[in-house]
């Protein structure tokens, strides 16, 4: 067996091998991070255009022109798709998971480094193909991120449904392949590369969250890939999987007998687990940060693990709650409704355990902690509207309204993004060797928290008042026109919130080069990434094999020299 002295290997020196086609999971993690950062700005810009259009439908936007109704639909399609796939799926798992999963389990790298690199570059290609949809004849598709046929399956159904839609589907198919490669790597690494002493129940909750997310991805993305292939065939080969007999512009199309509901079933079998693919890593990060900054062990570690497993498992059994309006049998709707509300149980366990962790704690209110608390807040706020939508009788009223938009933006979008912010502020010192500015971090937090609530809470009221989503102009319908003041408020809030993100960007890049040097363990945390140098060496532990002696959250240890015990510390810890 290799000894500590002999396992050290040298980093590649060439620029291409070191920074572009690197096999080092840390470099790949940073590549994913910046890809997602680019994507989030694209997605955010599109949302800004939408919000401006809702207030001033006739406005001519510099370099963009007037936004027509079909352009508005393209904007919301691309906003949703880019955010869901290239931000919410990419950054938490591909970015932070790639960088920290191997280090947190004491491994020198991912199980299959070449596959890891291929996974990133395949994601990159998928992103480029997605963006290309803007620049082809007809522009980007307008069928929404859920791509419901027959709109998405008939090329002549509208502008953007030609080549733009083909590129959209192709991009998603490529993304599925990339995600499958990544999931395979995460699962194998977690199961097979743990350091000596790193039993499953000693893994940090972040590792558990990435591991469960990978399992969800492994089982869900294959289904979306199949669904996408069928859609491409309907569009280009004249098959009728999804398309019934339809008439477009007075012409009977060549399809017959297909069912749009078939797509909905396949899509949502992927789509609902995708919600947890986005949010589970955030749960892991929140647990990690809350424990560290509360200086207390996470409340109910095992319950947290089992809750995440339950959420993942139940996530595959509730896809039908997206389809209550499709005319499904009331018995099916009842089953999906009950199963959906069951998810509330593990979600509540997690929430109470987070609160229990903070209860009577000596909390250090630093920026990562603020974002972790913000995550819990948004998770609760967004989660509580879930049971409303899980009731078929209420969903009939609320379906396709802004209530749904507000719900999923809080729970899946912003909560997950707060998880990413918490992760960024928490791990930035380890990744880049410098500290981020604390004052600007706090200002950024409070502006973003207030801003996101100001944007998304009114959407619930808007939806309850009948405010339909996907309408580009509210002026022509009398009862909708009365809701425009709410839109005004949300648009101003969106402009301020987006402006606040420049604070984050300046802080990020300024700190990367000019921030004060970080020590190896600036937060006095216990997990393995804080035992190694900052930033970690090429093989993560400088040729030393870490040996794990404790669980991941040994804080407030009675009699300990400090108030925490590192996972690698061989000292005996009394029960506390």
């Amino acid at each position: 067996m290799a000894t500590a002295a002999t396992i050290h290997s040298h980093a590649p020196q060439g620029f291409i091998r070191k920074y572009i086609f690197s096999l080092d999971h840390k470099v790949i993690g940073i590549q994913y991070f910046f890809l997602a950062l680019t994507a989030v700005w694209v997605g955010m810009f599109l949302s800004l255009l939408m919000r401006i259009h809702l207030l001033w439908p006739s406005a001519v936007i510099p370099l963009f022109g007037e936004i027509k109704p079909e352009t508005y639909l393209s904007l919301l399609t691309m906003h949703g798709t880019i955010m869901v796939f290239f931000v919410l799926t990419t950054a938490p798992q591909g970015g932070f998971g790639n960088y920290f999963l191997p280090i947190q389990i004491g491994a020198p790298d991912m199980a299959f480094p070449v596959l890891n690199m291929l996974s990133f570059w395949t994601t990159f290609v998928a992103f480029m193909v997605m963006l290309a949809a803007f620049f082809v004849t007809g522009g980007a598709p307008l069928h929404g991120w859920t791509g419901y046929p027959p709109l998405s399956a008939v090329q002549s159904a509208g502008p953007g449904e030609g080549l733009g839609a083909d590129l959209w589907i192709t991009s998603i198919a490529i993304f599925c392949i990339a995600s499958l490669m990544g999931a395979l790597n995460f699962i194998t690494t977690t199961l097979d590369l743990r350091a000596k002493g790193m039993t499953l129940m000693r893994m940090p909750l972040t590792v558990w969250s990435w591991f469960i997310t990978a399992i969800l991805g492994l089982l869900a993305f294959g289904v979306l890939l199949s669904a996408g292939i069928l859609l491409l065939m309907d569009r280009n080969l004249g098959t009728s999987f999804y398309v019934p007999l339809v008439v477009v512009n007075g012409q009977i199309m060549g399809h017959k007998g297909g069912s749009p509901l078939l797509w909905q079933h396949l899509f949502w079998f992927f789509g609902h687990p995708e919600v947890y693919i986005a949010i589970l890593p955030g749960m892991g990060v929140a647990s990690q940060v809350l424990s560290t900054f509360s200086r207390k062990p996470i409340f109910g570690y095992k319950a947290m693990v089992y809750a995440m497993l339950s959420i993942g498992f139940l996530g595959f059994m509730v896809w039908g709650h997206h389809m209550f309006m499709s005319g499904m049998s009331p018995y099916s709707a009842f089953a999906f409704s009950i199963l959906t509300m069951c998810i509330g149980v593990p979600s509540a366990i997690k929430t109470f355990n987070w609160l229990g962790t903070m209860y009577k704690a000596r909390i250090r209110f630093q920026t990562p902690m603020l974002y972790a608390i913000g995550f819990v807040s948004l998770f609760v706020s967004g989660g509580l509207s879930g049971p409303f939508l899980a009731q078929p009788v209420l969903d009939i009223q609320l379906h396709d309204t802004y209530f749904v938009v507000g719900h999923f933006h809080l729970i899946m979008g912003v909560a997950a993004i707060f998880g990413m912010f918490a992760a960024t502020y928490y791990w930035f010192p380890k990744m880049f060797g410098r500290m981020m500015n604390e004052t600007w971090g706090r200002i950024h937090f409070f502006l973003t928290l207030a801003g996101t609530y100001a944007i998304f809470m009114p959407m619930h009221y808007l939806g309850m008042a009948g405010g339909t989503r996907r309408y580009s102009d509210y002026r022509e319908v009398k009862y909708l026109a009365t809701l425009i003041p709410l839109h005004q408020f949300m648009t101003y809030a969106a402009i301020i919130t987006i402006a606040a993100q420049f604070i984050f960007m300046v802080n990020l890049f300024w700190s990367m080069f000019k921030g004060p040097k970080a020590s190896d363990n600036p937060w006095e945390a216990t997990t393995l990434e804080w035992t190694t140098a900052t930033p970690p060496p090429h093989d993560n532990f400088g040729g030393v094999t870490p040996v794990v002696h404790h669980g991941p959250y040994e804080y407030g240890v009675p009699g300990a020299a400090k108030d925490y015990v590192m996972q690698t510390d061989p000292v005996s810890v009394p029960a506390h």
Binding site: M1, A2, T6, I7, S9, R17, L23, D24, H25, P108, D109, A111, P113, V114, L115, N116, L180, A183, T188, D192, L193, R194, K196, G197, M198, T199, L200, M201, L219, G222, V223, L225, S226, A227, L230, T239, S240, F241, P244, I252, K256, G258, L262, H265, L266, P297, F299, G300, Y301, G356, H538, N540, T545, H549, H550, G551, E554, P574, A575, H576
Partner: protein
């Protein structure tokens, strides 16, 4: 509640307490200075393969689900102004597909021969490396190349089956049944083609003087994948045959 875990002596730790096998820190793709642990790499590769098989299974499960749902769907017929079933029955070239099935099943046996052969060779490699020790010409039968040949033969046979389908007037858009016949067989063929590429790599690797253990991993993984492909084909064959 504390997460205190007693400081168990390392020697008493169970699964998950095994030390990581370090090959090349930071994933530089090299073999590292400490020498790779092929046993651990094989185990890891098999685990990765199990994940890949789970994914491929999900793809075929979802296609099967679509197959069954689409089969039962009625469609509106303009001529009769009523709902009719448009599924239709495809006149598949069963004899040709049967021959292809036999080729693939036979290739699974030859693949297993290749796997066992290279496992034996890898086990005997340390003995053979002793100066003056010879084990004769053991294990030189070209199982791998035969499998590659049979795999290519299966793909050629599938191509012939599609040509025959076209000759009989069944195209991908003729009816839903023919759409699925093309879709399922083509999806399987694409996955099998991936296996053929892996086998070609394994066969060529011996010419490139790659270490026997490294070749063994590729052949072992390819073999299990190949068996899965054979099983999957039987499933597709049965689906097209019995759920018409």
């Amino acid at each position: 509640m504390a997460t205190y875990t007693p400081s168990t002596p390392i020697s008493q730790l169970g699964r998950g307490g095994d030390p990581p096998v370090r090959t090349s820190g930071g994933g530089d793709g090299g073999s590292g200075n400490g020498g790779p642990n092929y046993g651990a790499r094989l185990r890891r590769a098999r685990l990765g393969l199990a994940c890949a098989i789970a994914t491929v299974s999900m793809i075929f499960i979802s296609l099967t689900s679509a197959y069954i749902v689409r089969q039962g769907l009625p469609t509106f017929d303009n001529a009769s102004s009523s709902y009719v079933h448009d599924w239709g029955v495809v006149n598949l070239p069963w004899l040709l597909l049967g021959i292809n099935t036999l080729i693939l099943l036979f290739s699974s046996f030859t693949m297993e021969g290749a796997r066992r052969q290279i496992t034996r060779q890898a086990a005997l490699a340390p003995v053979k490396s002793i100066p003056g020790v010879s084990l004769g010409n053991e294990g030189s039968f070209p199982w791998l190349w035969i499998t590659v040949f049979l795999g290519l033969g299966f793909l050629a046979g599938q191509w012939m089956a599609w040509s025959e389908l076209r000759r009989r007037g069944f195209f991908v858009d003729t009816n839903p049944s023919s759409s699925f016949a093309y879709l399922l067989t083509a999806t399987h063929a694409v996955h099998l083609a991936g296996g053929v590429i892996a086998l070609l790599w394994a066969a060529i690797a011996s010419r490139l003087h790659k270490p026997i253990e490294e070749r063994r991993i590729v052949v072992d993984i390819s073999a299990w994948y190949w068996h899965f492909m054979a099983f999957l084909w039987l499933y597709v064959f049965a689906l097209l045959g019995f759920a018409r």
